[in-house]
Structures are given as structure tokens and as C-alpha cells.
Symmetry: C2
Subunit: 195 residues, 2 copies
């Protein structure tokens, strides 16, 4: 099974001194359980939903050849909600439109999961927008039949995540925070159903 994890800096695992992130931890756990998983990490720092809409299909097609069991896990949203020049980088409704377009295309092609946007932690107003986006992604995914795991509260409720983010660049955790997120995904029934 080949899995493309597609998203932003949190998918990349920025800040993790072990360089595993949550995606590496998840795949290592699956391999230890005997599954022949190939891990493709396609997280890019600062990527918004619009950035991902423009690149994900080409990058995933290069990695998931026809006839092989290739799967998709998306996780993005925080960068849409940050401010640039006094405006959010992607407006709320545009984020939802891009997310809908990405997931409809993805789910028509491969087994697909969506994992909800994560907080930036160092700006309450941005985090309020991220939480609102997460809440609106849930019914969108339900309509598309794409399993969705909201994880905003996993991060804000994890002492490891919040303390590591504060000790780091303000936003990205280190190994403990990513391990907490990996644990939450590992327990998710939609992820477990893949194995």
C-alpha cells in the first residue's frame, strides 16, 4: 500500500527533531504491524488549500501508478486562515470550495481521508477562524462520503503539543506533539479500516 500524505507544514513535520512527524510515526506503526506501507510525504510549508489544489494531483499521480494500491490522506487549512497584508490568505468560502474540489476529485480516484486543520497556537483570532473552518469541513466531507477527523482539539488539548509549540517557533510542535497527533489518527476507525 502506498500512501500520499498531502498538506502543509504540519504534514511535513516541521519542528520535529526526529524528522518523523505524525505521518512517519503512523506508517512506521503500520509497518511494525506487518503492513508493507510506502510513505510519501507531500506536506509543504505555507501551502493553502489553493496551493494544494494546484499541485496535488500531479504529485500523487507520479507516486501512485495505475494498478497499485495507492491511497490519499489530506490535511490542511491553517495557512488559509492566517493574515497577509491585513487579509486572510484564503477567504472562508473559497477554502471550502477548494477543499470540496480537491476531495471530490480525490475520492473519485483513490481511497481518501481528510484530517482537519490544526491551530497556529500563537494567535487566537487566527485559531478562531481555523476552528470555524474545521467545523464547516465536517458536513462537506459527510456529503462527499470522505471520512473526516477533526484534530484542532487534539492539538490544543495536548500539553506536549502546546508546550513544544510555545518553546519552538510558536506554532509547530516537536516529537511529543506529533506523537500525540499520530496516536489520535491511529485510533481513528477510518484509518484503522485501511489495515
Amino acid at each position: 500500500m502506498r500512501i500520499c500524505f498531502i498538506g502543509d507544514s504540519f504534514v511535513n513535520g516541521v519542528g520535529d527533531d526526529t524528522c518523523l512527524g505524525w505521518t512517519g510515526r503512523l506508517c512506521a506503526e503500520a509497518r511494525r504491524a506487518g503492513w508493507d506501507v510506502t510513505h510519501y510525504n507531500l506536506g509543504i510549508r505555507r501551502d493553502t488549500s489553493l496551493d494544494i489544489q494546484g499541485r496535488w494531483r500531479g504529485e500523487a499521480e507520479a507516486r501512485l501508478p495505475k494498478g497499485l494500491d495507492g491511497r490519499l490522506v489530506f490535511a490542511f487549512g491553517a495557512n488559509d486562515c492566517t493574515l497577509m497584508d491585513g487579509r486572510t490568505r484564503v477567504a472562508h468560502d473559497s477554502s471550502l470550495d477548494a477543499t470540496r474540489a480537491i476531495l471530490a476529485d480525490a475520492a473519485g480516484w483513490r481511497k481518501t481521508l481528510m484530517i482537519g486543520p490544526l491551530p497556529v497556537c500563537d494567535d487566537p483570532s487566527t485559531d478562531a477562524r481555523i476552528l470555524a473552518l474545521s467545523r464547516d469541513i465536517a458536513p462537506l466531507c459527510a456529503r462527499l462520503g470522505v471520512p473526516f477527523l477533526p484534530v484542532f482539539g487534539v492539538a490544543t488539548g495536548s500539553d506536549a503539543w502546546t508546550s513544544e509549540a510555545a518553546a519552538g517557533d510558536g506554532t509547530h510542535p516537536n516529537a511529543g506533539g506529533y506523537a500525540a497527533l499520530a496516536g489520535a489518527v491511529a485510533e481513528w476507525e477510518a484509518w484503522r479500516a485501511w489495515f
Copy 2:
């Protein structure tokens, strides 16, 4: 510093139950030494030099914005030398042409390193072609001024690499083999000069 590692299944770390590969180990070591490294792994299974020539620049530009310290490490070649329908997938001279084109383009854009092709281990005639390719990549890199590290012998000389490959799919090692390769790159003066 953001580093794109671009290449084949060995760059991806296929077979490594820890999901770190040699690139994750190298970057984790650099982070432990205090360097703020972001690790982009762009290894794709079965990719030849021609496949990489077609995709590397677009994928790297999406990850290395202007004005940020972005660097490139290439490592490929073995897939060129395997047989498909009775012929090598990429002829020797075409491999060298593609490698020259990639590295000339890369080195004109960002700091660039090249790491030599690795053996497939389970087919002596393929490995003879890979070793011949590695030997011809060396003077090509010298002419371009791109530092080159041949690693064919690192793999064949590593008991961990060869025994793990034999115990696995015949070609890809597990954690011990990738750790041996990461160690060889970590000692390379051209890599060390980046830090």
C-alpha cells in the same frame, strides 16, 4: 535551511520499518546539532533519471521559495539500469545526458549535491551496469562542479545493507542499511560544508 532530496526508492527509504530512510536520519542528526533543517523527501519508487528530469524542478520550486535557503540533493540511477522487455530502461548514454541536464539546471539555481547510484543486489548484471554508470557520473559531476559521492561500495560493503536487502525484497535494506548510508553521507566533506 530547506533541503529537497530527489530521487528513487532508496531516497524514499523503501523497506525501512522506521520510515526514516537515510535522508530522515541525516536531517535528524543536523537538527540535533542545532540546525533548523526542513526535510523534503522527493524519492519515488521506480523513477529513472528521465522521470526525475521531468518532475524535479516543479516539485522543488513548490518547496523552495525565492529568498529562502533551499538546497538540493539528488540520488538516482539504479532504475535506469534494470531490464524491462529485455532492454535497460534507460540506455547508459541517455542516463548520462539526463543526469548532466538535471545537475546543470540544478546547480545554476541552488546549492546541489549528487549521490551515486545504489546496487539492486539481486542481479549481478544490473549491478555491473549501475557501477559503470556511477563511474561515469563522477567526471560528469567534476566538470559541472557538483560534488559527487559514490555509494555503490558503501551498500555492497555493508553487512547490514546486504543482509537486510536479502531478507527483504532482495533490493531494499531496512533500518541498518539506511543508517550505514546516512553515516557515509554525514562524513562526506561536501555535506558537512553545508553546516
